[in-house]
């Protein structure tokens, strides 16, 4: 009876599954599929913002190879991944272990650590610019203790490191919450058994906690590496639209924005850079997942 009703409905409404999926498909098509294919197509044209392009084959990719700014962008985005990702895999875990304890007032600290996550990146960026300015709070303190002023916002490497610090500071709370959920699932008995066997806190952390949250660490690694490679706001806000001194702090996504926007934007060339960003991002994800499978086996 039930199966005959289902087949009757299917006969009457052969497209009903599509109707149900239509809103989602439309949104996916309009805001993900179309822009994606559009970028892919544009990468092989010399299209500009107001002038339709012509097919140029691999010319944009060939130009990339000789564009110093592209290599600077690739270097900075890669450095961002190499520095930020390990920090965002390890530090939130330690933070989660700290705030996991049920002691009075711990909710305040959990909320405090999470606050940067909900704060606007523009506000956060501006606050850090004021703090790290030549005459900002940090430099005033350094000067008072005799270290002297440090050019956090005028030295290309310090500027990049400062932006990385902001990314880590802002991301700590988010990944801490993910780790807290994972830690809640670690059986207490394992810790107790290890303690009985004479394992200290560090040993229990390495032999019990880390293996138990390993899959979460992989997830955090994958998420943060993709986000780090695509970094834009922090560096843009701290280094300025030109990407720091002589553009040396430009990241790949900043380069996409700078090259492809405005009335004279080179949409085709910017699309080619976007394709490179996409390929590297996918490769990063695969790398992390592959490392995870290797470790698991």
């Amino acid at each position: 009876m039930a199966s005959s009703t289902v087949s009757r409905v299917r006969r009457q409404l052969p497209s009903s599954p599509w109707l149900f999926a239509a809103p989602g498909l439309l949104i996916t098509g309009a805001f993900i599929l179309y822009p994606f294919v559009s970028t892919l197509v544009n990468a092989f044209t010399d299209r500009r913002t107001l002038i339709p392009g012509e097919f140029v084959g691999l010319a944009n990719f060939s130009e990339l190879l000789h564009d110093d700014m592209f290599w600077i962008g690739l270097r900075n985005s890669t450095l961002y991944v190499l520095v930020v990702v390990p920090a965002l895999v390890v530090l939130p875990l330690l933070l989660a272990l700290l705030v996991q304890k049920n002691i009075p007032g711990i909710t305040f600290f959990r909320s405090a650590f999470y606050t940067p996550v909900v704060a606007s990146i523009v506000v956060v960026g501006l606050i850090w610019v004021w703090l790290l300015d030549e005459r900002g709070l940090v430099n005033s303190v350094l000067e008072a203790i005799g270290v002297g002023r440090v050019g956090f916002l005028s030295d290309q490497w310090l500027l990049l490191l400062s932006a990385m610090a902001v990314t880590v500071w802002k991301g700590l709370g988010y990944y801490m919450i993910i780790y807290l959920a994972a830690l809640a699932n670690v059986p207490r008995e394992l810790h107790e058994a290890a303690a009985v066997d004479g394992a200290g806190a560090v040993r229990r952390f390495l032999s019990v906690t880390v293996p138990a949250v390993r899959s979460t660490m992989v997830l955090v690694g994958a998420l943060s590496s993709v986000a780090a490679f695509k970094v834009f706001s922090e560096v843009y806000l701290m280094a300025g639209p030109s990407g720091g001194p002589a553009g040396e702090d430009t990241t790949l996504v900043m380069l996409v924005q700078r090259t492809g926007t405005g009335l004279t934007g080179r949409v085709g060339y910017a699309s080619a850079i976007s394709v490179v960003v996409f390929v590297v991002t996918v490769a990063l994800m695969l790398l992390v997942l592959r490392a995870d499978r290797k470790d698991a086996s």
Binding site: W18, S38, T49, L50, L153, S154, A246, T261, G262, L263
Partner: protein
């Protein structure tokens, strides 16, 4: 299942075809335009971050126009300053550009090249005599025949300096520097006396600075940049000397006009260019600075100060050409520019307006002193920003200048590279 395959194939085809077919025309948008018909219909008018402070003024202008031309209706849109060029480019690419648009010369150039700006020499030449010659010419684009926007308001400004900082460094606050050499000398003295803690300048040289220093910016045909000549190298070499002595703020390499303005407000730098508008800000945000503010003329070696020009462009694809042209002219005519200038510290681009007593008579206040001096200098001012100088070119120049200041390249190498990069971008603009 066949349905799903077909649907997927269709979706994919649409995704591939649409990007290829998108985007607008190229060149020649005013060929058939005619502004001589009846002024009627609905038009849209877009301004550049003006609603917050001048809502009543623009509503009055629009009401006046609708009364003068019954049957017209103007819809006013205001866009924030941030990302204005991006908004225009999105509208232009999407075919939703308003009928009348507030633009600057560098925004007009790509729109004119894409055939989206109406050539006023063809459809509104009769109004040309109402404007200052230099202002009318400011919306002409090298390589194209025609004028692509009505000139609107002009602005220029003096150089402000902090008298207290001058005094502390042993400089005479009543004798501010008047030439580039004097500025450089004062800056080096300031750095030396304050042990590098107070810089005099907060910005690296821009294309306008090269222009005011007397460096030729482009060749006569407007087809290539030329600011890498001896004079350009000389200016950059001077800046390098200032940077090494900390007479140029160490954060100048990443500074924006906003950040350097803030540094001047907080007394971190001693001099900063500005306009009459800034006096109000000083009074409100830094009363102590305002009490000790020094005002001197914009430094120039050419005898011409730099001016900024705003324009009002008519969309070449408007369906209401007569109404759009009439409104663009109405907003920018002498009467309305004069009334706008009395609301805010800007200057009209209409012929004769700068001779009005409002711009020639001082009443003893700093505001009128700055206004009268600026109006006087505007009569032979030059817009040193080349119309074809895009944002990408500004970045290329800025980055090469930074390399020279850091000592990674010699000033000559840096300017040669900047010119090469700008020429390449110019060729790519088409």
């Amino acid at each position: 299942m066949p349905l799903s395959r077909r649907a997927l194939a269709a979706a994919f085809a649409v995704c591939v075809a649409l990007p290829l077919s998108a985007c607008g025309s190229s060149g020649g948008g005013s060929a058939d335009a005619d502004a001589s018909g009846k002024v009627e219909g609905d038009i849209t008018f877009q301004t550049w971050n003006l609603r917050a402070n001048f809502k009543d003024y623009f509503e009055g202008v629009i009401a006046g126009f609708e009364k003068k031309y019954p049957g017209t209706k103007v819809k006013w849109i205001d866009q924030p300053a941030e990302g204005y060029a991006d908004k225009i480019s999105a509208d232009a690419a999407g075919g939703t550009l308003p009928d009348v648009v507030n633009v600057s010369p560098d925004l007009v150039a790509p729109l004119a090249k894409a055939g989206l700006a109406l050539d006023l020499d063809k459809v509104a030449a009769k109004y040309k005599k109402e404007y200052l010659d230099g202002a009318w010419a400011s919306h002409q684009v090298p390589g194209l025949q025609g004028t692509y926007a009505f000139p609107w308001y002009l602005n220029t400004g003096p150089l402000f300096y902090n008298k207290t900082l001058f005094k502390e460094a042993g400089l005479d606050p009543e004798q501010p520097p008047k030439t580039y050499d004097e500025v450089f000398d004062a800056a080096l003295t300031m750095a030396e006396k304050t042990d590098g803690k107070v810089a005099t300048l907060a910005n690296v040289p821009t294309i306008e600075d090269f222009g005011r220093y007397g460096v030729p910016l482009m060749n006569k045909e407007g087809t290539a940049f030329a600011f890498n000549d001896t004079k350009g190298v000389e200016l950059l070499t001077k800046y390098k000397e200032l940077y090494d002595a900390k007479a140029l703020d160490p954060q100048a390499l990443t500074a924006t006009p906003e950040s350097s303005g803030k540094k001047f407000l907080t007394g971190a730098v001693a001099m900063n260019p500005g306009s009459a508008l800034d006096l109000g800000n000083f009074k409100k945000q830094a009363p102590n600075l305002y009490k000790n503010i020094g005002i001197t003329d914009q430094i120039t070696s050419t005898g011409h100060v730099n001016m900024y020009v705003m324009g009002v462009m008519v969309n070449a694809q408007t369906k209401r050409t007569p109404a759009a042209v009439a409104f663009a002219h109405y907003v920018t005519d002498a009467e309305h520019q004069m009334s706008f200038a009395k609301k805010v510290a800007i200057f009209p681009s209409t012929a004769g307006s700068l001779d009005d007593p409002y711009f020639t008579k001082e009443d003893g206040t700093d505001e009128t002193r700055v206004r009268v001096a600026a109006a006087k200098s505007l009569k032979n001012a030059v817009n040193y920003t080349p119309v074809l100088f895009s944002e990408q070119m500004k970045t290329a120049l800025r980055n090469e200048v930074a390399k020279a200041l850091q000592g990674k390249e010699s000033p000559k190498e840096a300017l040669d590279n900047a010119v090469e990069a700008c020429d390449r971008l110019l060729r790519q603009q088409g």
